[in-house]
Subunit: 301 residues, 2 copies
């Protein structure tokens, strides 16, 4: 799994920072998460192939998380895209996008599917053979979801030498990979674990932005390999967290610790901080394995 940070700053514009957008590469998928203004240029800068993006997940309808989407949709048309595009977003986005397309008399030459979200409970919103994606209800000023990306557990690894030694017909190899015990040519039941080893551990990534400190999410993100959690402020400005429904770095770290995640990635920094190291220092007092998201940075998960 590879995470590319296209942008990780909060709304106020600056010449050298981008609002929220990420690309998650997982099992041959290239998922986009959020799409603030300027994301299409950030895609170019990070040399991401536009055509590989087939699914876009929008957390909420504050501008710094989606104002770049309509431009990206228009650009896909200019680039003569043909592949379907699926957008998962809070209810209302479809109306905005279709109104803008109507006013510009510019329709897409590819199929555009809106999957509008309105549930306040976690939902399974995408699933195929290898991946599943669930929403993570967050606590922000408007309806907001995080997203949990999980690889499905793969097949067990078969040791062919051992299977042959155990005199198992190769017709049963598939069943062995799926974890079943099978009878060998002599009619003896062979314990699966004697000829296979566990599958590669399946990875998971949780994206949680924007949100107030919200322990309700902890059961949903338990043990994930990487958690991106917003930290708009540090504790010094804690009084700003409550009215804006954002988190401090310390709060993000507390969530990471409670959920026993393997790695915490911070982001969505307020522009008041010129030196971002204050976020990392504050979080690491609670949760050691903390990294800072930075525009253009990648994480191998």
């Amino acid at each position: 799994m590879k995470l590319t940070i296209l942008g990780c700053h909060s709304a106020t514009p600056r010449t050298n920072t981008n609002p929220t957008s990420q690309i998650l590469e997982i099992k041959n998928h290239m998922f986009m998460i959020d799409c603030g203004e300027g994301t299409q240029v950030a895609l170019r800068r990070n040399r991401v192939k536009f055509s590989r993006i087939k699914h876009i997940f929008i957390s909420h309808l504050h501008g710094d998380h989606y104002f770049g989407l309509v431009g990206l949709i228009s650009t896909f048309r200019l680039l003569t895209r043909e592949a379907d595009l699926h957008i998962y977003a809070p209810k209302g986005l479809k109306e905005v996008i279709t109104l803008q397309m109507k006013l510009s008399d510019s329709w897409t030459n590819y199929r555009l599917f809106f999957h509008e979200l309105s549930s306040k409970n976690s939902e399974l919103i995408f699933e195929d053979d290898q991946v599943e994606i669930h929403t993570i209800p967050l606590d922000h000023r408007i309806y907001t979801n995080g997203f949990l990306f999980k690889e499905k557990e793969g097949e067990r690894k078969l040791d062919i030498n051992k299977a042959n030694e155990a005199n198992i017909n190769k017709a049963y190899f598939r069943k062995l990979k799926q974890g079943a015990d099978v009878h060998n040519e002599d009619g003896v039941l062979i314990d699966n674990k004697k000829v296979t080893s566990p599958p590669k551990p399946s990875k998971s990534y949780a994206f949680c932005s924007d949100t107030a400190y919200n322990p309700d999410m902890v059961p949903l993100i338990q043990n994930v390999d990487a958690l991106y959690h917003e930290s708009t402020f540090v504790e010094k400005h804690k009084e700003l967290c409550k009215p804006t429904k954002h988190s401090s770095a310390k709060e993000a770290a507390s969530i990471a610790k409670m959920a026993n995640v393997k790695q915490l990635i911070l982001g969505h920094y307020s522009t008041r901080y010129d030196d971002l190291s204050v976020f990392k220092t504050e979080a690491q007092e609670i949760f050691a394995n903390t990294e800072l998201a930075l525009d253009g940075k990648t994480f191998e998960i």
Copy 2:
């Protein structure tokens, strides 16, 4: 009059170019013309004070001319703007912007006025003591206006020594500046021209993008000091002009020549051209005083 090019390229995104937006400084006003995606960052890069922008003119509702506007409106709120903001744009923009504000539950803390345009004839859309602004109907795939910015003629310059020599009471000085003949203390009518000289010539700027070759605009832009006219293509790709309703550099130059403008500024280049000098070379065969718009370039008019 000073023109700052924030962006002057057509829609396809690149890392080093911006879609259309300009700032025109004229008689203490700072007018914004068009507002493609990323304009607020271009404003920062060009050190334009956000608070000085009180009037924004949108030519048409293709994304590369207005997708940056909603972000700018949101940023004005974050910056706790209090001054009124007036937006002149084709009908439909108000619906888009208000829908997006409704969905984000983010209203402005300043007054936002939409002046929606739908006339196919040239209209006076702004006027104060010193400036007037008219629409220039253009010929594009959707409803589109250019804009003509004109300084009003100033007062005549009074030569106070000559007025005193002519024995004119200073109570009449205001009338003299306004061009009237007045009686002196001896009851003699004094010819205005004997004691005043003509006002500074008033400047004018015409913005014409996007448009097909459209000689109908010529009477409206006659003799302007500077004409910005789109040139998406050069003649080599003339076959693309008609279906897209864009102009070639040669066509832009022909309009400039017919309208007897003082200077032509080209822009809205298709991304197919890496070397922009082809536009200038082509236009200068018809109209010598041609310059290329470039992101970040300024023109003293």
